[in-house]
Protein backbone atom coordinates (compact mmCIF):
# COMPACT_ATOMS: atom_id res chain seq x y z
CA UNK A 1 0.00 0.00 0.00
CA UNK A 2 2.64 2.51 1.01
CA UNK A 3 4.90 1.35 -1.79
CA UNK A 4 2.09 1.90 -4.25
CA UNK A 5 1.42 5.41 -2.89
CA UNK A 6 5.13 6.21 -3.06
CA UNK A 7 5.32 5.11 -6.70
CA UNK A 8 2.24 7.19 -7.58
CA UNK A 9 3.73 10.36 -6.14
CA UNK A 10 5.15 12.47 -8.95
CA UNK A 11 8.48 14.19 -9.16
CA UNK A 12 11.96 13.62 -7.84
CA UNK A 13 12.76 12.07 -4.48
CA UNK A 14 12.65 15.42 -2.69
CA UNK A 15 9.25 16.29 -4.10
CA UNK A 16 7.96 12.83 -3.29
CA UNK A 17 9.16 13.12 0.32
CA UNK A 18 7.51 16.52 0.68
CA UNK A 19 4.22 15.26 -0.75
CA UNK A 20 4.36 12.20 1.51
CA UNK A 21 4.86 14.43 4.55
CA UNK A 22 1.88 16.57 3.51
CA UNK A 23 -0.25 13.43 3.16
CA UNK A 24 0.77 12.21 6.62
CA UNK A 25 0.05 15.59 8.23
CA UNK A 26 -3.32 15.75 6.45
CA UNK A 27 -4.24 12.28 7.67
CA UNK A 28 -3.26 13.12 11.25
CA UNK A 29 -5.23 16.37 11.09
CA UNK A 30 -8.28 14.52 9.77
CA UNK A 31 -8.02 12.12 12.71
CA UNK A 32 -7.49 14.79 15.35
CA UNK A 33 -10.06 17.31 14.20
CA UNK A 34 -12.79 15.21 12.65
CA UNK A 35 -12.66 11.51 13.40
CA UNK A 36 -11.51 11.46 17.04
CA UNK A 37 -13.97 14.16 18.23
CA UNK A 38 -16.71 12.14 16.53
CA UNK A 39 -15.65 8.83 18.10
CA UNK A 40 -14.98 10.20 21.56
CA UNK A 41 -18.56 10.52 22.88
CA UNK A 42 -19.13 6.85 22.14
CA UNK A 43 -16.33 5.77 24.45
CA UNK A 44 -16.87 5.07 28.12
CA UNK A 45 -14.32 7.18 29.95
CA UNK A 46 -16.16 10.43 29.52
CA UNK A 47 -19.27 9.41 31.45
CA UNK A 48 -19.00 11.55 34.53
CA UNK A 49 -22.59 12.24 35.49
CA UNK A 50 -25.15 10.21 37.41
CA UNK A 51 -28.61 9.75 35.99
Amino acid sequence: MYGWIWRKLPGAIGVKALLAAVLVVGFVALLLFVIFPWVEPMLPFNDVSVQ
Binding site: N46, V48, V50
Partner: protein, 295 residues
Protein backbone atom coordinates in the same frame (compact mmCIF):
# COMPACT_ATOMS: atom_id res chain seq x y z
CA UNK B 1 9.07 -24.97 3.06
CA UNK B 2 9.12 -25.31 -0.69
CA UNK B 3 5.45 -24.48 -1.06
CA UNK B 4 5.73 -21.48 1.23
CA UNK B 5 8.67 -20.14 -0.67
CA UNK B 6 6.77 -20.51 -3.85
CA UNK B 7 3.93 -18.44 -2.47
CA UNK B 8 6.19 -15.57 -1.58
CA UNK B 9 8.11 -15.64 -4.77
CA UNK B 10 7.15 -13.72 -7.78
CA UNK B 11 5.74 -15.76 -10.62
CA UNK B 12 8.96 -16.13 -12.58
CA UNK B 13 11.39 -13.66 -11.11
CA UNK B 14 12.35 -15.60 -7.97
CA UNK B 15 16.09 -15.51 -7.36
CA UNK B 16 17.82 -18.67 -8.45
CA UNK B 17 18.79 -19.58 -4.89
CA UNK B 18 15.13 -20.18 -4.08
CA UNK B 19 15.08 -17.77 -1.10
CA UNK B 20 11.82 -15.93 -0.67
CA UNK B 21 12.44 -12.27 -1.26
CA UNK B 22 9.69 -9.69 -1.38
CA UNK B 23 10.19 -7.74 -4.51
CA UNK B 24 8.13 -5.17 -6.26
CA UNK B 25 6.76 -7.91 -8.43
CA UNK B 26 5.78 -10.18 -5.55
CA UNK B 27 2.84 -12.48 -6.16
CA UNK B 28 -0.74 -11.68 -5.23
CA UNK B 29 -0.58 -13.46 -1.86
CA UNK B 30 2.61 -11.68 -0.85
CA UNK B 31 1.06 -8.39 -1.88
CA UNK B 32 -2.06 -9.05 0.16
CA UNK B 33 -0.04 -10.05 3.22
CA UNK B 34 2.12 -6.98 2.91
CA UNK B 35 -0.85 -4.65 2.55
CA UNK B 36 -2.56 -6.28 5.51
CA UNK B 37 0.58 -5.84 7.59
CA UNK B 38 0.82 -2.19 6.61
CA UNK B 39 -2.82 -1.64 7.49
CA UNK B 40 -2.38 -3.29 10.89
CA UNK B 41 0.67 -1.18 11.70
CA UNK B 42 -1.27 1.90 10.61
CA UNK B 43 -4.20 0.91 12.84
CA UNK B 44 -1.81 0.51 15.76
CA UNK B 45 -0.38 3.97 15.16
CA UNK B 46 -3.89 5.42 14.90
CA UNK B 47 -4.82 3.92 18.29
CA UNK B 48 -1.62 5.34 19.79
CA UNK B 49 -2.46 8.72 18.31
CA UNK B 50 -5.91 8.49 19.89
CA UNK B 51 -4.31 7.99 23.31
CA UNK B 52 -2.22 11.10 22.74
CA UNK B 53 -5.34 12.94 21.57
CA UNK B 54 -7.35 11.89 24.60
CA UNK B 55 -4.66 12.65 27.16
CA UNK B 56 -3.14 15.83 25.74
CA UNK B 57 -4.89 17.26 22.71
CA UNK B 58 -8.39 17.45 24.26
CA UNK B 59 -6.81 19.37 27.14
CA UNK B 60 -5.62 21.98 24.66
CA UNK B 61 -9.02 22.18 22.95
CA UNK B 62 -10.79 22.46 26.31
CA UNK B 63 -8.36 25.04 27.65
CA UNK B 64 -9.32 27.27 24.72
CA UNK B 65 -13.04 26.82 25.32
CA UNK B 66 -12.57 27.33 29.06
CA UNK B 67 -10.63 30.57 28.56
CA UNK B 68 -13.32 31.82 26.22
CA UNK B 69 -16.13 30.90 28.64
CA UNK B 70 -14.23 32.56 31.47
CA UNK B 71 -13.82 35.88 29.72
CA UNK B 72 -17.42 35.80 28.48
CA UNK B 73 -18.56 35.24 32.06
CA UNK B 74 -16.46 38.16 33.31
CA UNK B 75 -17.88 40.42 30.61
CA UNK B 76 -21.40 39.37 31.41
CA UNK B 77 -20.96 39.97 35.13
CA UNK B 78 -19.37 43.35 34.52
CA UNK B 79 -22.04 44.39 32.05
CA UNK B 80 -25.14 43.16 33.83
CA UNK B 81 -25.55 45.73 36.56
CA UNK B 82 -28.91 44.46 37.72
CA UNK B 83 -27.13 41.94 39.91
CA UNK B 84 -30.02 39.56 39.84
CA UNK B 85 -29.97 37.03 42.65
CA UNK B 86 -30.88 34.22 40.27
CA UNK B 87 -28.51 33.97 37.34
CA UNK B 88 -30.05 33.40 33.96
CA UNK B 89 -29.33 29.80 33.08
CA UNK B 90 -28.64 29.14 29.42
CA UNK B 91 -27.74 25.64 28.30
CA UNK B 92 -24.01 25.22 27.90
CA UNK B 93 -23.25 28.72 29.14
CA UNK B 94 -21.19 29.52 32.19
CA UNK B 95 -23.00 31.11 35.15
CA UNK B 96 -20.61 30.49 38.05
CA UNK B 97 -17.00 29.72 38.84
CA UNK B 98 -15.56 26.88 40.87
CA UNK B 99 -12.36 27.08 42.95
CA UNK B 100 -10.65 24.35 44.97
CA UNK B 101 -7.83 26.07 46.90
CA UNK B 102 -6.15 22.79 47.90
CA UNK B 103 -5.58 22.09 44.20
CA UNK B 104 -3.65 25.35 43.98
CA UNK B 105 -4.50 29.03 44.23
CA UNK B 106 -4.84 29.21 40.45
CA UNK B 107 -7.30 26.31 40.18
CA UNK B 108 -10.50 27.70 38.74
CA UNK B 109 -13.10 26.61 36.21
CA UNK B 110 -16.31 28.11 34.97
CA UNK B 111 -19.44 26.08 35.68
CA UNK B 112 -21.75 25.60 32.70
CA UNK B 113 -25.45 24.84 32.80
CA UNK B 114 -26.11 21.20 31.93
CA UNK B 115 -24.05 18.03 31.98
CA UNK B 116 -24.14 17.10 28.28
CA UNK B 117 -20.97 16.49 26.27
CA UNK B 118 -20.85 20.02 24.93
CA UNK B 119 -21.09 21.70 28.31
CA UNK B 120 -18.57 19.33 29.87
CA UNK B 121 -16.05 19.96 27.09
CA UNK B 122 -15.81 23.54 28.38
CA UNK B 123 -15.54 22.66 32.06
CA UNK B 124 -17.61 21.31 34.95
CA UNK B 125 -21.38 21.29 34.35
CA UNK B 126 -24.30 22.02 36.64
CA UNK B 127 -27.04 19.38 36.81
CA UNK B 128 -30.17 21.06 35.50
CA UNK B 129 -32.83 21.54 38.13
CA UNK B 130 -30.51 21.14 41.10
CA UNK B 131 -30.00 23.99 43.56
CA UNK B 132 -27.99 27.07 42.65
CA UNK B 133 -24.89 28.08 44.62
CA UNK B 134 -25.78 29.04 48.18
CA UNK B 135 -29.34 27.75 48.03
CA UNK B 136 -30.68 25.11 50.40
CA UNK B 137 -30.73 21.73 48.71
CA UNK B 138 -27.98 20.24 46.62
CA UNK B 139 -25.87 21.93 43.93
CA UNK B 140 -24.92 19.11 41.54
CA UNK B 141 -21.79 19.56 39.43
CA UNK B 142 -20.22 16.97 37.11
CA UNK B 143 -16.74 17.18 35.64
CA UNK B 144 -14.24 15.18 33.60
CA UNK B 145 -11.65 13.14 35.44
CA UNK B 146 -9.51 12.44 32.38
CA UNK B 147 -9.22 14.43 29.14
CA UNK B 148 -10.97 17.70 28.26
CA UNK B 149 -8.94 19.62 30.81
CA UNK B 150 -9.78 17.01 33.48
CA UNK B 151 -11.06 19.48 36.10
CA UNK B 152 -11.94 16.67 38.51
CA UNK B 153 -8.78 14.63 37.97
CA UNK B 154 -7.83 14.79 41.66
CA UNK B 155 -11.31 14.74 43.15
CA UNK B 156 -10.48 11.57 45.07
CA UNK B 157 -7.68 13.47 46.82
CA UNK B 158 -10.06 15.81 48.64
CA UNK B 159 -10.08 15.21 52.39
CA UNK B 160 -12.85 16.15 54.74
CA UNK B 161 -13.04 19.91 55.40
CA UNK B 162 -11.13 20.81 52.22
CA UNK B 163 -12.57 24.04 50.84
CA UNK B 164 -14.57 24.31 47.63
CA UNK B 165 -15.56 27.83 46.59
CA UNK B 166 -18.36 28.77 44.21
CA UNK B 167 -18.50 32.28 42.80
CA UNK B 168 -21.62 33.80 41.32
CA UNK B 169 -22.20 37.28 40.06
CA UNK B 170 -23.07 38.52 43.52
CA UNK B 171 -21.32 36.34 46.07
CA UNK B 172 -18.69 33.79 47.05
CA UNK B 173 -19.86 30.59 48.73
CA UNK B 174 -17.47 28.50 50.79
CA UNK B 175 -18.29 24.81 50.99
CA UNK B 176 -16.26 22.28 52.90
CA UNK B 177 -16.09 18.54 52.20
CA UNK B 178 -18.15 16.49 54.64
CA UNK B 179 -16.51 13.89 56.90
CA UNK B 180 -15.71 10.60 55.19
CA UNK B 181 -17.49 7.48 56.42
CA UNK B 182 -14.62 6.31 58.60
CA UNK B 183 -14.40 9.73 60.30
CA UNK B 184 -18.06 9.94 61.36
CA UNK B 185 -17.41 8.25 64.69
CA UNK B 186 -16.29 10.86 67.21
CA UNK B 187 -16.29 13.65 64.59
CA UNK B 188 -17.38 16.43 66.98
CA UNK B 189 -14.46 15.85 69.33
CA UNK B 190 -12.00 14.63 66.72
CA UNK B 191 -11.23 16.28 63.42
CA UNK B 192 -14.52 18.18 63.58
CA UNK B 193 -13.09 20.32 66.40
CA UNK B 194 -10.22 21.70 64.33
CA UNK B 195 -10.52 25.28 63.02
CA UNK B 196 -10.50 24.02 59.43
CA UNK B 197 -13.69 22.04 60.09
CA UNK B 198 -15.64 24.88 61.71
CA UNK B 199 -19.22 24.56 60.54
CA UNK B 200 -18.81 21.05 59.14
CA UNK B 201 -20.96 18.50 60.92
CA UNK B 202 -21.78 14.89 60.13
CA UNK B 203 -25.39 15.97 59.32
CA UNK B 204 -26.52 12.91 61.28
CA UNK B 205 -29.52 13.35 63.58
CA UNK B 206 -28.45 11.98 66.97
CA UNK B 207 -32.07 11.59 68.05
CA UNK B 208 -32.87 9.08 65.34
CA UNK B 209 -31.41 5.59 65.36
CA UNK B 210 -30.55 5.52 61.64
CA UNK B 211 -29.13 9.07 61.62
CA UNK B 212 -32.06 10.84 59.96
CA UNK B 213 -32.56 11.94 56.35
CA UNK B 214 -28.88 12.69 55.78
CA UNK B 215 -27.67 9.26 56.90
CA UNK B 216 -26.33 8.49 53.39
CA UNK B 217 -24.60 11.83 52.91
CA UNK B 218 -20.86 11.58 53.22
CA UNK B 219 -17.68 13.34 52.05
CA UNK B 220 -16.69 10.66 49.56
CA UNK B 221 -18.67 7.82 48.12
CA UNK B 222 -18.45 5.53 45.11
CA UNK B 223 -21.77 4.64 43.53
CA UNK B 224 -23.14 3.05 40.38
CA UNK B 225 -23.83 5.36 37.41
CA UNK B 226 -27.60 5.01 37.85
CA UNK B 227 -27.61 6.74 41.24
CA UNK B 228 -29.09 9.95 39.91
CA UNK B 229 -30.35 10.59 43.42
CA UNK B 230 -26.79 11.48 44.45
CA UNK B 231 -27.71 15.00 43.37
CA UNK B 232 -31.17 14.96 44.98
CA UNK B 233 -31.87 17.81 47.44
CA UNK B 234 -31.29 15.30 50.23
CA UNK B 235 -28.75 12.91 48.72
CA UNK B 236 -29.97 9.37 47.94
CA UNK B 237 -33.45 10.21 49.26
CA UNK B 238 -36.78 11.03 47.61
CA UNK B 239 -37.07 14.71 46.70
CA UNK B 240 -39.90 15.37 49.14
CA UNK B 241 -38.34 13.87 52.26
CA UNK B 242 -37.62 17.33 53.77
CA UNK B 243 -39.23 20.72 53.13
CA UNK B 244 -36.84 23.17 51.47
CA UNK B 245 -36.56 25.26 54.63
CA UNK B 246 -35.09 22.31 56.52
CA UNK B 247 -32.65 21.24 53.82
CA UNK B 248 -28.94 21.72 54.34
CA UNK B 249 -27.05 23.62 51.62
CA UNK B 250 -24.92 20.99 49.95
CA UNK B 251 -22.62 20.80 46.95
CA UNK B 252 -22.17 17.47 45.18
CA UNK B 253 -19.39 16.88 42.66
CA UNK B 254 -19.48 13.78 40.45
CA UNK B 255 -16.94 12.24 38.11
CA UNK B 256 -16.08 8.84 36.67
CA UNK B 257 -14.46 6.14 38.73
CA UNK B 258 -12.02 4.45 38.43
CA UNK B 259 -10.09 6.70 36.07
CA UNK B 260 -10.66 5.80 32.39
CA UNK B 261 -13.73 3.77 33.26
CA UNK B 262 -17.49 4.22 33.17
CA UNK B 263 -18.09 1.49 35.72
CA UNK B 264 -18.77 3.72 38.73
CA UNK B 265 -19.06 7.33 39.79
CA UNK B 266 -17.08 9.13 42.45
CA UNK B 267 -19.29 11.39 44.55
CA UNK B 268 -17.80 14.12 46.75
CA UNK B 269 -20.23 16.07 48.92
CA UNK B 270 -19.62 19.24 50.84
CA UNK B 271 -21.64 21.63 52.96
CA UNK B 272 -21.99 25.42 52.87
CA UNK B 273 -20.15 26.98 55.79
CA UNK B 274 -19.77 30.62 54.82
CA UNK B 275 -20.66 33.19 52.21
CA UNK B 276 -19.54 36.67 51.30
CA UNK B 277 -21.37 39.25 49.24
CA UNK B 278 -19.05 40.61 46.60
CA UNK B 279 -17.86 44.13 47.28
CA UNK B 280 -16.50 46.28 44.46
CA UNK B 281 -12.78 45.69 44.09
CA UNK B 282 -12.77 42.49 46.09
CA UNK B 283 -12.23 39.11 44.54
CA UNK B 284 -11.14 35.55 45.01
CA UNK B 285 -7.83 36.73 46.46
CA UNK B 286 -9.70 38.10 49.47
CA UNK B 287 -11.56 34.83 49.89
CA UNK B 288 -8.22 32.99 49.77
CA UNK B 289 -6.86 35.31 52.45
CA UNK B 290 -9.90 34.62 54.60
CA UNK B 291 -9.47 30.88 54.16
CA UNK B 292 -5.76 31.18 54.95
CA UNK B 293 -4.07 27.84 55.57
CA UNK B 294 -7.36 26.06 56.09
CA UNK B 295 -7.68 25.03 52.49
Amino acid sequence: MATLEKEFEGPEEGPPGGTAVLTRDAGPVAKTVRTLGELLITAGLVVLLFVVYELYITDIFSAGKQAEASSTLDDQWAKDQQRSLHPELIDGQAFARLYIPSFGADYHFTVQEGVDEKALAIGPGHYKGTALPGEPGNVGIAGHRVSQGAPFNDLDQLSSCNAVVLETQTAFFLYRVLPHDEEMQGWATGKGATPQCKGVSTLRDPNVADGGPYNQTTGRKIVLPNRGDAVSPVPYKPADILPVAQQASLLTMTTCNPQFSARERLIVQSVLVKQWQKAPGSGYQDVLKEIGDNT
